[in-house]
């Protein structure tokens, strides 16, 4: 009996050992491709993710922080985000190597991966729709989705064309198993414009039932969407040139055509403290973050107050005379409303006194509804109506219609917000050009990412770092475009290359 008992106990335990889970476990945390592409609603979620990675690739900490410093928009001498190294004077090249620190590599990787990943998500959506996945069987919801996918491809290619010398153009026909050729930036921009135009025509076809909810829930109706699409098309067409020569060759007729139909509102998704943030607005604006963050570059202070030097004197390191009066004065009222004066400077001297200035941008605090802190709440302006107006004015100017350009300027923020005197109708084209550049620098500050980097490279010749002017070109040797990340070149079996530095004064010729 006892033996029977012990045997029973033992074999019961043995049987218990069979109560096991199988090997076919699943991931309950992250969906797979098969799971996210099965229904129309799924496609909207995937597209939402695509918009987010585009936003993060273009409005995150990289490359905006580094390029804003290297375009003398802001001064920031901390090592974070590659800002210190890209703000060296005289300028050094962007060192495109996989052995560099992650933070520095992110300058090229973040926009590269963000924009390409966004295109990939858009392609997934378009491909699934071609295979029959649908929200309303070809109705206006499907049209909206398609338009939104094309729009995402457009803004992704657009920024790739603005930032990089070449990029990968992947559409539904591309075979990813074959080696991919790089496409030069001019063709990338062309592709971006075609996408924007495709998006516009699809949205128009969808009509009043069109809806776009992909910018963190910001609802765009058809007119708002097409206005935004035209505006982005105008931005890409106007800001792609790397030099004055290319700028002269830009298609200003098409810029005008698109800007004329561009947005009449300030496009600004809302920050949520999580995924949707704008690091440039967080780090550049005055958010009460103590003395740590960026200052407005001295060149912009000098733009508002010509009595100020455009380069902050090297008092300690260079024995230069200190500023007579650190507090600037200007006819432009925005110096008082949008900027905050600090009597002291906040960066270590040995990191370069050229980073010094006595001003921070605090329009987010003084202009209700304009912006939040870029991080937790409030709008994150990414495309102002003023930006579109200025593109229109510039196109008119380039096309010789100076008077019309002046009219737009006088009706705009120069007078409304800056309280500057109206430009005379018979102003010289050069004066109008300077007024446009000034508005772009001061009014658009901390809105469109890297905008002054794009504007400085195309509007004026490069300037020696000791002789910079307020609205002049990039400093000699500043990278005027970014190279394909070394990691991607590695995959494509190509040698890494750099832009900028003493061997590439224009910042556009590859240095190996």
């Amino acid at each position: 009996m006892k033996s029977f008992l012990t045997q029973s106990v033992f074999f019961t335990l043995l049987l218990l050992s069979g109560a096991c889970e199988s090997l076919e476990t699943v991931n309950d945390n992250n969906p797979s491709r098969d799971e996210v592409l099965t229904s129309g609603a799924d496609l909207m979620d995937v597209l939402r993710g695509g918009y987010l990675v585009w936003w993060q690739g273009v409005h995150g900490a990289h490359p905006v922080m580094a390029l804003s410093v290297s375009s003398d928009t802001y001064g920031l001498s901390w090592d974070d985000f590659g800002a210190f190294r890209m703000g060296q004077e005289p300028r050094t090249f962007y060192n495109n190597r996989i052995t560099e620190d992650q933070d520095y590599q992110q300058v090229v990787q973040a926009p590269w991966l963000g924009c390409h990943s966004a295109v990939s998500s858009a392609n997934d959506v378009l491909s699934a729709m071609d295979k029959g996945v649908s929200i309303d069987n070809g109705g206006p919801q499907d049209e909206s989705l398609r338009a939104s996918a094309h729009f995402l491809r457009g803004i992704s290619w657009g920024y790739l064309g603005l930032i990089f010398d070449k990029a990968l153009l992947v559409d539904l026909q591309t075979d990813l198993d074959q080696p991919l050729p790089f496409t030069p930036y001019a063709q990338i921009i062309d592709a971006a414009i075609s996408e924007m135009e495709e998006a516009i025509s699809l949205a128009e076809a969808a009509g009043p039932e069109f809806i776009h909810l992909y910018f963190n829930g910001l609802g765009l109706r058809e007119a708002e969407f097409t206005g935004l699409s035209h505006a982005y098309a105008a931005r890409f067409l106007a800001q792609w040139p790397r030099t004055e020569e290319e700028n002269a060759a830009a298609d200003w007729n098409r810029v005008l055509e698109h800007a004329a139909q561009g947005l009449d509102y300030d496009f600004a998704p809302m920050a949520d403290g999580g995924s949707w943030q704008s690091y440039q607005q967080y780090a550049f604006a005055e958010t009460g973050q103590g003395p740590f963050w960026a200052r407005v570059d001295q060149r912009l202070v000098a733009a508002m107050d010509p009595s100020q030097p455009a380069r902050y004197p090297e008092v300690i390191a260079g024995g230069e005379a200190p500023l007579d009066n650190p507090r600037a004065s200007s006819d432009d009222q925005r110096l008082n409303t949008d900027f905050l004066f600090f009597p002291d400077n906040n960066f270590p001297v040995d990191r370069g006194e050229w980073h010094f200035s006595h001003y921070k941008h605090n329009r987010n605090k003084t202009d209700p509804g304009f912006a939040g802190n870029g991080s937790t709440d409030g709008p994150m302006p990414a495309f102002l109506a003023a930006d579109n107006e200025l593109l229109q004015a510039e196109a008119l100017l380039r096309l010789g219609r100076t008077g019309e350009a002046v009219n737009i300027l006088n009706a705009g923020t120069r007078v409304n917000r800056g309280k500057l005197p109206a430009l005379p109708l018979n102003s010289s084209p050069e004066a109008v050009q300077q007024a446009i550049l000034y508005e772009r620098a001061i009014e658009l500050l901390s809105t469109a990412p890297m905008s002054l980097w794009f504007d400085r490279r195309r509007s004026a010749p490069r300037e020696n770092y000791l002789e910079v002017t307020p609205l002049g070109g990039l400093q000699t040797g500043t990278p005027a475009q970014l190279p394909v990340p070394a990691g991607e070149l590695d995959i494509q079996m190509e040698e890494p290359y750099n832009f900028g530095g003493p061997n590439d004064p224009l910042g556009i010729d590859p240095v190996f």
């Binding site: 096991c20 090997l23 476990t25 797979s32 990968l168 973050q289 937790t376």
Partner: protein
């Protein structure tokens, strides 16, 4: 007729195999040592008959012998049983009709050796092991029982390296057994405690005083039994269970230890300034502009010693443990309880407190059935004063960063509250560390439950069936609380902008809570057969094993607190985020293992294992592992003068390293409801596959016992993140894409000096155990582009993974230290350069001027050269455990020697940023700029200046004890022992930081899926960091020197 011939032959053969079948007598009994300890695995043979058996785990046996009398008309002498067991004298006992026969085997003069269980079929004496097994026994651990288990294992067995992140009380350690075999997935071996597979890889919860012995299987040649988790070795820990007591005996022990820990040294900080002193008076002196020569030669006003006054303390260390062991005829048990408190080095820290309870119970239900139960519960609380994530915002870092001239206890101007947060007026914006200390708290609470139940059923005298179920449940609760009104320029941990009250619309403050629960369950059934015949002894085990690991993570964070003090998530008003993750990992495996020997002279072991895991891709679901191993005890055949024992061994075996859950599955990342592409899934992912060939020898001669092993290891199919073209949309895909090769030389030498010097006095106990290992490890092949990686701390990705390179190679920029390094190119004329006071190449015309900078090596285009600048791999490591005793007094010391191997001193580099390191004022002629951003600090980019020799020679453990003999304190106290114990008493090293025996942290407390830039383990190619490979000092909690006094009494 012909058809009956085979039958007849079989019958004859059967009769010859069982010639005494007709008159069988079954003899049962028990074999013990002279101290009464049961001896498992004793070989018992019927003399002259060729049949036999072995004793079971409880020393019991049953054997059939011929009855006395006549057989086939011949008169037979009484049968004789031969009992043989390594380390004991062989005994012959005649069976004269008894059916019960208990035998006490006298020990040979040599030490009593235990059997090795881990990785064998049925337990084996070390003498007949055919592959290397490390063993640390109770005595070696109990001389200086550490606060946490692991660290006390360094230096005690060859081939086991123990790395610790820091000296933080309660911090776990990271083992490396032999070489580093994984490029991306860490080196932690499989950890087993009393048969429980640990799911949470920390041993910090265990009470070191419960440990009876530790067995370490070192490489695939030994670990194949454990399959795809075992390529990094297997460490199995056994706890005490009262088994070695006499029946009827109960032993109660108390051990109390009280003392303190103190920092071993002070960090060298700069006490000078290069600035004009405008106002020298405290609490906030004012400095003006730098002097024109930029040299730090003016003593700071109001100089403070922050390390002495606000940072360090002599922290109390105390532990109390009580254990009861007992044994009856059928039952033995251990019950123990421990309370340990280690306040640590930092002032106002709660340190680490642990309570642990253990109950082990074995019971024999019947002659055939027994139960073994083990259980442990531990609860601990750790005050994470210095973050486990360290970095430049920790309490230690800000204390060192701050210019030491402020009275840190001055109140805030803003509201009169304690500790002026922005007292730093130098422009560096360092938050007052005291303010941070009292307004920011982090803690970890751990609850750990281990339990296992084993049933052994002795179905036949040659067959044992057993079943084990075991569970490890670990609950880890992390809390980070920032007080409402928190003011800072930098945001701690994962908090966002509203955690500081300086931001518009925020009260500041925040709370984060995360809970990680891991449940590791196994269910295993074994059938073990033991037979002995014709001089052959065999043990065969067939097993089936099911493993199930469930991990759960929940995390919440919120900011902008409504009220002060309240540590509730409901206190947060803004920026509230939640996150969770679940993982289920399963594995089924079956294996067959056979151990055999012929007269304990020729030894063989072989096994085969087939394993399927949910962590393998669906197309690679099953993996096979094997081992073949043999040994020859030469001295059994050949008499070599002076050599008692010489055993030659050779083994080959395979085992694996599993991919992680994230590597196996993740495709789209889901955070805050947003779906974004991350890594591409891989249905063909398989475990890394390690093959090890090991040869070795064991020799005993004179007073020496020597073990030597050489292992050649190749670990292929490394699981690595292959970068994908951005066009794919995914950043990468985990693939099997590389191999690591290693050569390991290890040796252990035990010297009995009393024997060596022929000291006859039995009261003298004098011996030395020396361990040695040398490891050469390199990336054998790499199917993805070479890359640099690191622990994920800011600017710390400096470890190069490249084909042909040593694993653990550091790369960085190079500042020339010799004129020979100057490049031959236009514009660089060696005669323009010279060495400065600090030993770096500088331009002669800049020497002594504010413009003096070190010369950085560049290529022809001006690109800084990035070259190998260091290597973590030491030339060798050695341990010397020395014991000398006379009668009751004994001195024990453990010296630990690490020769070579380098560490990257990121703390020092950070301290160069603001010129706060003492180096900056060390040279009266070298200006500040030489150390600054364009100088050695180099924008925090890795360079050769911060690579330092991490070699050391340290007295890791020392104990001076006196044991009072029986009866010294009356009849109730059997033994009474007093000890003075020191840990880390002194260290000889060239390292300039606190201590070289530290490494980079492992990512533990963060979200499992979302890695933030600059956070621990944010380097996606090495997802959790790797403390064994990334030897980086980043403001690690200093290693403490501890002095304690202990009392141990046994009743």
């Amino acid at each position: 007729m012909r058809i009956y011939l085979p039958f007849a032959l079989s019958l004859l053969l059967g009769l010859s195999a069982f010639p005494l079948l007709a008159q069988q007598l079954t003899v049962t009994g028990k074999v013990t040592s002279s101290e009464g300890a049961p001896l498992p695995g004793v070989h018992i043979q019927v003399k002259g008959a060729g049949t036999g058996t072995v004793t079971n785990e409880r020393g019991k046996y049953a054997i059939s012998v011929p009855g006395t009398g006549t057989f086939f008309f011949r008169s037979e002498p009484p049968p004789t049983l031969v009992f043989s067991y390594t380390g004991f004298k062989t005994m012959e006992v005649a069976v004269d009709g008894q059916t019960e026969l208990d035998v006490e085997l006298p020990e040979e003069a040599a030490q009593l050796e235990e059997i090795i269980v881990t990785g064998t079929a049925a337990g084996r004496s070390p003498k007949i092991m055919s592959y290397a097994v490390g063993k640390i026994d109770e005595k070696e651990l109990q001389e200086v029982p550490g606060a946490t288990l692991g660290i006390g294992m360094q230096g005690k067995t060859p081939g086991l390296r123990v790395n610790r992140i820091s000296g933080q009380p309660g911090q776990g350690v990271y083992f490396q057994v032999r070489s580093a075999n994984a490029i991306a997935n860490g080196q932690q071996p499989m950890l087993i405690v009393d048969g429980v597979f640990l799911g949470s890889q920390t041993l910090a919860d265990l009470n070191p005083e419960d440990i009876e012995k530790i067995e370490i299987l070192k490489g695939s040649a030994g670990t194949s039994l454990y399959g795809s988790q075992a390529a990094n070795g297997v460490v199995q820990i056994f706890t005490k269970r009262g088994r070695n007591l006499e029946a009827g005996e109960t032993k109660v022990s108390y051990r109390g230890e009280v003392g303190y820990s103190e920092p071993a040294n002070r960090y060298p900080v700069n006490e000078f300034t290069n600035r004009e002193i405008l106002d020298p008076s405290g609490p906030q002196p004012i400095l003006g502009d730098p002097n024109p020569d930029m040299v730090f030669d003016t003593p700071l006003p109001n100089l403070q010693d922050y390390q002495e006054n606000i940072l360090f303390q002599n922290g109390l260390y105390q532990s109390h443990s009580l254990s009861v062991q007992g044994k009856t005829e059928r039952t033995n048990f251990l019950g123990s309880v421990q309370r340990l408190r280690d306040e640590g080095l930092f002032q106002s820290s709660e340190g680490y407190t642990r309570h642990s309870f253990r109950l082990n119970l074995d019971h024999q239900i019947s002659n055939k059935l027994e139960l073994q139960a083990s259980s442990m519960y531990a609860n601990s609380r750790q005050d994470l004063l210095a973050l486990s994530s360290n970095g430049p915002n920790s309490f230690l870092a800000t204390t060192l960063f701050l210019t030491p001239m402020f009275d840190l206890e001055a109140p805030n101007e803003e509201d009169g509250s304690s500790y002026d947060w922005d007292i730093d007026n130098t422009g560096f914006g360092i938050t007052n560390p005291l303010y941070d200390r009292y307004n920011s708290r982090q803690s970890v609470d751990r609850n750990r439950l281990l339990g296992s139940l084993t049933t052994n059923y002795y179905a036949k005298d040659w067959l044992t069936l057993s079943y084990t179920a075991a569970l490890d449940r670990s609950v880890n609760e992390f809390e980070h609380f920032l007080e409402k009104g928190y003011l800072s320029t930098s945001l701690p941990g994962q908090f966002g902008t509203l955690a500081t009250a300086g931001v518009q619309n925020s009260n500041g403050g925040g709370i984060q809570r995360t809970t990680r629960i891991t449940n590791s369950f196994i269910s295993r059934a074994n059938a073990t057969i033991r037979r002995s015949f014709q001089g052959f002894n065999t043990a065969i085990r067939a097993s089936y094993l099911y493993e199930e690991l469930r991990a759960q993570f929940n995390g919440s964070i919120g900011e902008n607190l409504a009220v002060r003090r309240i540590r509730s998530l409901d206190n947060a008003q803004s920026n509230i985020f939640i996150s969770s993750e679940n993982q289920l990992i399963t594995a089924h495996s079956g294996f067959l293992i056979a151990d055999a020997d012929y007269k304990q002279k020729y030894i063989f072991s072989g096994l085969f294992r087939r394993e399927g895991s949910s962590l393998f891709g669906p197309e690679q679901r099953w993996a096979n592992y094997y081992r073949l191993s043999g040994a020859y005890r030469l001295t059994e055949d050949i008499n070599i003068r002076g050599v008692r024992e010489l055993k030659l061994r050779a083994s080959i075996g395979t085992s694996g390293i599993r991919p992680t859950f994230e590597q196996r599955f993740e495709a789209f990342e889901l955070i805050d409801g947003n779906i974004t592409k991350k890594t591409l899934g891989n249905s063909r992912l398989r475990p890394a596959y390690s093959t090890e060939t090991e040869v070795g020898l064991n020799a005993s001669f004179g007073a020496f016992d020597l073990e030597f092993n050489f292992a050649n290891i190749l670990t292929e199919d490394q699981v690595l993140l292959a970068p994908l073209t951005a066009a794919a949309g995914f950043a990468g895909q985990w693939r099997n894409a590389g191999a690591v090769a290693a050569k390991v030389y290890e040796a252990g030498l035990k010297i009995n000096f009393a024997r060596l010097f022929k000291i006859k006095n039995g009261d003298i106990n004098w011996n030395l155990m020396t361990t040695f290992d040398r490891v050469e490890q390199r990336v054998e092949s790499l199917d993805i582009p070479a890359y640099v990686t690191g622990p994920g701390l800011q600017q710390s990705s400096l470890f190069l993974v490249e084909e042909g390179r040593a694993l653990g190679t550091m790369v960085g920029e190079v500042f020339a230290t010799s004129l020979d390094q100057l490049p031959e190119r236009e514009g660089v004329n060696p005669s323009d350069f010279t060495l400065n006071q600090a030993g770096y190449v500088v331009r002669k015309d800049e020497l002594g001027t504010p413009a003096e900078r070190p010369f950085k090596l560049t290529d022809d285009n001006g690109n800084p050269l990035v070259q190998p600048i260091g290597d973590i791999n030491p030339d060798f490591r050695m341990g010397f455990a020395h014991t000398i005793g006379f009668k009751g007094i004994q001195l024990y010391t453990l010296f630990d020697w690490k020769k070579g191997g380098q560490i990257y001193n990121l703390s020092k580099q950070w301290l160069y940023r603001d010129h706060r390191h003492a180096d900056v004022s060390r040279y009266e002629e070298v200006p500040a700029g030489f150390f600054g951003n364009e100088g050695l600090y180099n924008g925090l980019v890795a360079n050769n200046h911060f690579v330092e020799d991490a070699g050391f020679f340290m007295l890791r453990e020392a104990a001076l004890s006196y044991t009072f003999g029986n009866g010294a304190f009356g009849k109730w106290i059997d033994q009474f022992r007093l000890s003075l114990i020191g840990r880390n008493l002194f260290t000889l090293t060239d390292y300039s930081g606190f201590h070289p025996d530290v490494t980079s942290p492992l990512r533990e407390e963060n979200r499992l899926t979302n890695r933030f830039n600059g956070g621990i383990g944010s380097d996606p190619r090495t997802p959790n960091g790797d403390p064994n490979l990334f030897i980086v000092d980043a403001f690690n909690y200093p290693v403490a020197r501890t002095l304690t006094f202990s009392i141990q009494a046994t009743f």
